[in-house]
C-alpha cells in the first residue's frame, strides 16, 4: 500500500477547454408552466437557483403555492378530459417525436444549462443526460400507438393525471423518464422539478410550447418540498411517481396509503460492485471508477460498495488509489473535467458528515490529491478501505464521490454481503466466467445487475429497485405499466 501512486498522467497539464455559458440563454426569472403558458414571475414569491460550482446565482424561479398546484392539477385534468384522452395514439406519438427532435436540436443549450444548474461535468450532460433524454422521448413515442401490443391486454387505459416529483441528480433525464411514458400511455402530467435544479425543466417547457403540445397536458411547478407535498396530497391526482430518497419515499407512501392513488417509487441504493479474481482488470478498474465517481456519485444506483475477492484486493486497491488521483476535478464547464461540483451545500455537509464517520469507525481513507476550487461546493474523490459491513459508510447512501471497499472469499459470501442491505437497486458483477456471473445475478436482490460494465442506461431497458429502493420500473415495455390502468 505504500507504493508510490504518482503517475506520468497525474502530472499532465491540460489547457482549459471551457464550454461557453452564453449558449444557455437563461432568462433572469421564470414563472410556473401552467396550462401551456409561463405565469408572470412577479406574481409569485421566488428563490434563486445557483451554480454550485461558483455559488453565483443563475436565475430566479417561482415558488409555487398550494393554489398554484391546484391550478396545475385542474389544467391537467381539463386537458386530460377534453383533449389528451381523445387524442389518438398515433397523434400522441407524433407530439413525442417532435419533443425528441427538439431536444436533439437544442441539445447543446440544454447541456450547458444542466451543467450550470447541477454542477455535473459538461462531458456527461452533453454525452449522456441530454441524448438519453431525447432517446427516452423517441422510444416512448413509438409506444403511444402500439399500446395494444405491449402485453397488458387489449386497449389498456391511462390513469388520468400524474403527479411526478423528480430529483436533482439528472434533472432533464428524470423529467424525460417521467413524462415520456406517461404521455405515451395517455396521461396528463404535473411535474415538480427539484428545488436546486429547476432550469432544464423550464427549458423543456419552452420545447413543449414549440412542439405545440396542447395546453395543460404537461404542467411544471417549481419550488421546495411543500410543492411536492401538495401534489402528493391533491385529491384530483390519480398517480404519483417519485424519484428521490428512501426517507421521502416512505413518507409519500404513507401519505397516499388508502387514497387509491397509484404509486411508483424509485429510491436510494447502496449498490454492490462485486469483483472476482478472474475479472478483466483494466475494464474492471475503469468500471469501478465510473460506477462510483460518475456524476460525482450523485447516482441512486452508484456502485458505492466495492466487494473485491480477497486474493486480488491489494492489487485492486493500489490501482484504484492511483486512478482516483488522475481524475480531473474542477470546473464542470471544462470539457476535460471528470468530476464536477457537489450539487448543494446541504449535500456537501451530508457527505462530509458520513465520511467523518468512516474515519472514526476505523476505515482507512484515501483522498485524491486534486486541488479544489475556492468557491463552490466540492468534495475530493475518496476511497475507504478496511470497511466492515457494520460501518455507516457501508450501510447508508452517501450520494457522493465516496467508495467503500470490502472483501470476500467465495461467491456465496459475495452474495450474502451484497444482499446485506435494506436497499436493492443495482449491483455489478465482474468476472470472465459467464456462468458464475449468472449464478451470482440470480441470487442478488437488486432491480438491475450489470455484468462487466456499470451505470448503463437505455430507454428500452427497465430500471428500478426492489426492497427499500422502491417499486415500479422506468424504461422499456415495463415502464408503460406505471402509467396504465392494468
Amino acid at each position: 500500500m505504500s507504493e508510490d501512486v504518482t503517475s506520468p498522467l497525474g502530472s499532465m497539464v491540460y489547457d482549459p477547454a471551457p464550454e461557453s455559458a452564453s449558449v444557455a440563454h437563461l432568462r433572469p426569472s421564470y414563472g410556473l408552466f401552467i396550462d401551456g403558458e409561463f405565469t408572470d414571475p412577479d406574481s409569485h414569491t421566488s428563490f434563486e437557483t445557483v451554480n454550485p460550482a461558483t455559488e453565483e446565482p443563475l436565475a430566479r424561479v417561482a415558488q409555487a403555492s398550494s393554489e398554484d398546484v391546484d391550478r396545475a392539477v385542474a389544467s391537467a385534468r381539463h386537458a386530460y378530459e377534453k383533449v389528451w384522452s381523445k387524442t389518438s395514439g398515433a397523434e400522441r406519438a407524433k407530439y413525442l417525436f417532435r419533443i425528441a427532435r427538439l431536444i436533439q436540436e437544442r441539445a447543446r443549450e440544454l447541456a450547458v444549462v444542466e451543467t450550470l444548474d447541477n454542477g455535473k461535468a459538461i462531458r456527461e450532460s452533453r454525452d449522456i443526460d441530454i441524448p438519453l433524454a431525447a432517446a427516452h422521448f423517441f422510444y416512448y413515442a413509438g409506444w403511444a400507438d402500439k399500446l395494444n401490443y405491449a402485453g397488458f391486454g387489449a386497449n389498456p387505459q391511462p390513469l388520468g393525471v400524474a403527479g411526478q416529483i423528480i430529483p436533482w441528480n439528472f434533472p432533464l433525464l428524470m423529467a424525460a423518464w417521467k413524462l415520456a411514458p406517461a404521455l405515451a400511455a395517455g396521461n396528463t402530467c404535473v411535474l415538480k422539478p427539484a428545488e436546486t435544479t429547476p432550469l432544464t425543466a423550464l427549458v423543456l417547457a419552452e420545447i413543449l410550447q414549440q412542439a405545440e403540445l396542447p395546453p395543460g397536458v404537461v404542467n411544471i411547478v417549481t419550488g421546495d418540498g411543500t410543492v411536492g407535498a401538495a401534489l402528493v396530497e391533491h385529491p384530483d391526482v390519480n398517480k404519483i411517481a417519485f424519484t428521490g430518497s428512501t426517507e421521502v419515499g416512505r413518507l409519500i407512501q404513507q401519505r397516499v396509503a388508502g387514497s387509491h392513488k397509484h404509486l411508483t417509487l424509485e429510491l436510494g441504493g447502496k449498490g454492490a460492485n462485486i469483483v472476482f479474481e478472474d475479472a478483466p482488470v483494466d475494464e474492471m478498474i475503469e468500471g469501478i471508477i465510473d460506477g462510483i465517481f460518475f456524476n460525482q456519485g450523485h447516482v441512486c444506483c452508484a456502485g458505492s460498495r466495492l466487494l473485491v475477492q480477497e486474493t486480488i484486493a491489494d492489487e485492486v486497491l493500489r490501482r484504484l488509489v492511483r486512478r482516483v488521483d488522475q481524475l480531473r476535478v474542477g470546473d464542470p464547464m471544462d470539457k476535460n473535467t471528470d468530476v464536477g461540483a457537489i450539487n448543494s451545500a446541504a449535500q456537501l455537509a451530508r457527505i462530509e458528515e458520513l465520511t467523518q464517520y468512516g474515519e472514526s469507525e476505523g476505515a482507512t481513507r484515501y483522498t485524491s490529491s486534486c486541488v479544489l476550487p475556492d468557491k463552490g461546493y466540492w468534495f475530493a474523490p475518496t476511497i475507504f478501505a478496511d470497511v466492515s459491513q457494520s460501518h455507516r459508510i457501508a450501510r447508508e447512501e452517501i450520494f457522493g464521490p465516496v467508495l467503500s471497499v470490502l472483501t470476500f472469499r467465495t461467491p456465496e459470501e459475495a452474495v450474502a454481503k451484497a444482499n446485506n442491505s435494506n436497499y436493492g437497486l443495482a449491483c455489478g458483477v465482474w468476472s470472465e466466467k459467464g456462468s458464475r456471473t449468472l449464478w451470482v445475478a440470480e441470487r442478488l436482490r437488486a432491480g438491475v445487475i450489470w455484468a462487466n460494465t456499470y451505470n448503463r442506461f437505455d430507454p428500452t431497458s427497465p430500471f428500478g429497485g426492489v426492497r427499500e429502493s422502491g417499486f415500479g420500473r422506468e424504461g422499456g415495455r415495463h415502464g408503460l405499466e406505471a402509467y396504465l390502468d392494468v
Binding site: A90, A93, K94, F97, A135, F138, Y139, A141, G142, W143, A144, D145, K146, Y149, A150, G151, P411, G434, S435, R436, L438, W439, E442, P459, T460, G476, R477
Partner: protein, 282 residues
C-alpha cells in the same frame, strides 16, 4: 403561364443507393389512371434484380449492425422527408390511382403516419417477440428475434404509396434488406419515396426498388438462391402458387396476401428466433 418548357424527369431504379437505368436499356410507358402519358419508367431485368440482391445482402449486415434506436431514427427521418414533399407525393398518388386531390392527400398522410409507426417498432419488436425461457436446468435461456436477411417484396398493384410503405417497411424495420418490385402500373410514388431514402440516411442497398413487369421479375426473385423471404402482396392466386413453388427451392419464408391484414403478422413474417443457452454455476 410563361412559354418555358418544363423539365421532365426520368424514373429510374434504386439499386445499392444509386439510381441506374435498367442495364437492359429498356423502359416502359406508364400512364395515369385516366390513360394519359405519365412517364417512361425503367423496365428492370433479371440482371438488375441480381445486382439488387447482391447490394441487399451486403447492406443487410450493416443495417442490422446499427442499433435499433438508430434504425428507428432513420425510418423516422424518411417520414420527415416525405412530409416535406407530401404535395409532390399526393400529386403522383392522385394521377396514379385516379384520386381527387383531397383523398390523395389523405392517403399520403396515412402513408407518412405509417412510416412513423414503423419507426417506433425497431426497438420494440424484440420486446414483443423475444423471451427469457425458464428451462428446467441451470441455464439462462433467452430468445431474440433476428431478421431473415434479404426479402423480396412484390408490391401491391393498386395502393401505390400506402401499400408500398407497408410492404417494404415491415421487413426493413425488423432488420431485413429489401428488393422491391414496385406496382407495375403505378410505380411513380414508390420511385419518389425511394429517392427520399437517399436523404434519410438509409444505407445504400437496404431498400432497392426495381420497376418493370411483375410477371417477368417475380419468378427471378422467387427462384433466387440468395433471397431469404418473399412477400407475394401484389400477385394473384394462380401466379402466387407458382411463385410459392419456386420459393420452396431455397426454403424461403413466404408471406401470402391473405396473411397480410394483421400488422404484427407482417412484422413477424421475416423474423427468425435465435435462442441462447448459457450455463449458470459457480
Amino acid at each position: 403561364m410563361s412559354d418555358r418548357l418544363d423539365v421532365r424527369k426520368t424514373y429510374k431504379l434504386l439499386v445499392n443507393g444509386a439510381f441506374p437505368r435498367s442495364e437492359s436499356g429498356r423502359s416502359y410507358e406508364v400512364t395515369s389512371a385516366s390513360g394519359e402519358f405519365l412517364a417512361n419508367v425503367a423496365q428492370g431485368s433479371r440482371k438488375d434484380l441480381r445486382d439488387a440482391v447482391v447490394a441487399a445482402r451486403t447492406a443487410q449486415s450493416k443495417w442490422w449492425g446499427q442499433s435499433a434506436y438508430n434504425r428507428g431514427q432513420v425510418i423516422y427521418r424518411l417520414a420527415e422527408m416525405a412530409e416535406s414533399r407530401r404535395d409532390e407525393l399526393a400529386e403522383h398518388v392522385a394521377l396514379a390511382e385516379g384520386l381527387k386531390p383531397k383523398p390523395a392527400q389523405q392517403s399520403v398522410a396515412r402513408a407518412i403516419d405509417r412510416m412513423v409507426w414503423y419507426a417506433g417498432w425497431t426497438d420494440k419488436i424484440a420486446q414483443i417477440l423475444g423471451s427469457s425461457n425458464p428451462v428446467a436446468g441451470p441455464f439462462f435461456n433467452f430468445s431474440v428475434p433476428v431478421p431473415s436477411g434479404v426479402v423480396a417484396v412484390l408490391c401491391v398493384q393498386d395502393s401505390s404509396l400506402e401499400g408500398f410503405v407497408d410492404a417494404v417497411l415491415a421487413p426493413i424495420c425488423v432488420g431485413n434488406a429489401v428488393v422491391a418490385v414496385a406496382s407495375e402500373l403505378r410505380p411513380t410514388p414508390a420511385v419518389l419515396l425511394g429517392e427520399m431514402t437517399a436523404t434519410a440516411d438509409f444505407p445504400g442497398g437496404v431498400l432497392n426498388i426495381v420497376t418493370g413487369f411483375t410477371g417477368e421479375l417475380a419468378p427471378v426473385l422467387a427462384a433466387h438462391e440468395d433471397v431469404d423471404g418473399i412477400d407475394l402482396a401484389g400477385v394473384d392466386e394462380p401466379f402466387g402458387d407458382e411463385l410459392a413453388l419456386l420459393a420452396a427451392g431455397s426454403i424461403k419464408r413466404v408471406l401470402r396476401p391473405s396473411e397480410r391484414t394483421n400488422p404484427l403478422r407482417r412484422l413477424r413474417a421475416f423474423v427468425e428466433t435465435s435462442t441462447v443457452w448459457h450455463t449458470i454455476g459457480q
